[in-house]
Amino acid sequence: MRLNDIEQAMLGGKLGEPRKWAIEQQMRVGRFFDAQDFVPISQVHLMADAESLGPIGVEFLEDLAKAPAEHRRVRVPTITDPRGIDFDAYRRLGQTESMAGLEQRAIDAFRAMGFLMTDTCINYQTVSPPVLGEHIAFGDTGSTIYANSVQGARSNFEGGPSALAAALTGRTPRYGYHLDEKRKATRVFLLRDRPKDLSDWGALGGVIGRKLQSYWEVPAILGVEAPPTSDELKHFGAALASYGTVALFHMVGVTPEAPELPAVIDDEAPASEMIAGDDLRAFYASYGGGGDKLDVVVFAAPQLSLYELQQLADLLDGRQVHPETSVLVTTSPEIKSAADRMGLTQRIERAGAIVLKGVCFYQMHAREIGEAMGWKRLMSNSAKLVNIIGGYGYVPSLGTMAACIDAAVAGRVPEKVA
């Protein structure tokens, strides 16, 4: 890789050990993907919950944080993805002091490096939305795909170590979705029936994601007649990224790089593949219903916007969650604060649900929580969450927000979910 003077200085250790580690990590990745050089970035979003970090990862962060301030401070604004502990609620979720202790150590290290602890995966809605053509290093699949696709920014999936490295160097290897030629559509899907509910948009992302084979596939979606809302695109993108490990989509007539299909096609357009309502119904059915006792309903992945919290409060008004079912709702600290101020949190919690801030369910030691609380049957309106959570020992079902609330009140998974 070609290095400029400052990059050479980092590699030579002249700007401290953390930056030397960082640029070496980035060069290993850059060479793997045949990057020729680095591209400066304007902001970093880092995923580093304590479950993923583990004790080894936390010790690594603490070592970096011991360096002199001029060596350890991040070079661009750097914010955080949801964490694993809500310090106001962790005990009643069966999380341990050991988990909380590991979390606190990670937070202390991040603060020492100059991180802004936003603890959110909806930063593209709530912190600093990227703009068209902005080179960034985003570290959550949902935030990356939204920033790339809906906002036209440029990022690869930057997993924790690489997002941290990008924060320390202020740049990232120029490969993948930083390059014009990689942003062209490779598959075309034609939407016949417009999704209605947020979970339908998630299901659509899941249906398309299951058809894609690699990170390097870029789907273009035709047939979306009117712009979806930000929350609809959020659920669609998060599920698409989760099921398909995809970081970019074009929605023709909606997203900024695709006013028309030819704008994102190099030569001849691939044959379009039809997606219809039956595909979405089959997707819901793949998770089943069953009539079983329902242990927990989770609204998360991505964290809820203020609008989603209002919708949830409206659905819960005058109702009570079944005593043997738990309902968890996650959002960012800033949106939680707004929801508190506007009375939404109180309305949701009056019905028996719990609103958590700065966390996301699958990043909270979900296996251990399930074992501590006796939770196995889970229901969510997040297609992304039901994709992830099976590996943690849960049996998930997907439903609309309204169906999830009905199920939580009844205490049972509905016989039919779609």
Binding site: R28, P161, G391
Partner: protein, 139 residues
Amino acid sequence: MPEERLIRGHVGIGPKVTGEALVADDYFSARYDLDRIQGVFSRPSHKLHGKSYVGKVLVLLGAKGGVATAWMLRNMVEMRRAPLALLLNTANPIMAQGAAFADLPFMDRFEADITKMVSSGDQITVDPGGGLVLITKKR
């Protein structure tokens, strides 16, 4: 003489190792698919469900899922709950970033579908620096 086959791939990450293959035409995510304490595949729908991956050269189609694997591989290596190496037909950045952070042998972009060239139980030498894989078929 055991049957041997040399396969070329893109230059990878990590040191040269030799070990036993564990193969499936399925995908990989440390968070979605694994019980990292027990060292087994825990996702019920995964084709290696219930199988131990510890110390094996894991051969799969590609990466799926989220970003957590980038942190998790190093923890798995240090806790001795990691595969010996990881071979994918197509990497995503997360797997490469995680392998670089963990110094875990990792390769992709082979001359043909690697999951069809190797069977579980075969011995494999993975040479990421040379972009080479030597397969010795089990008898």
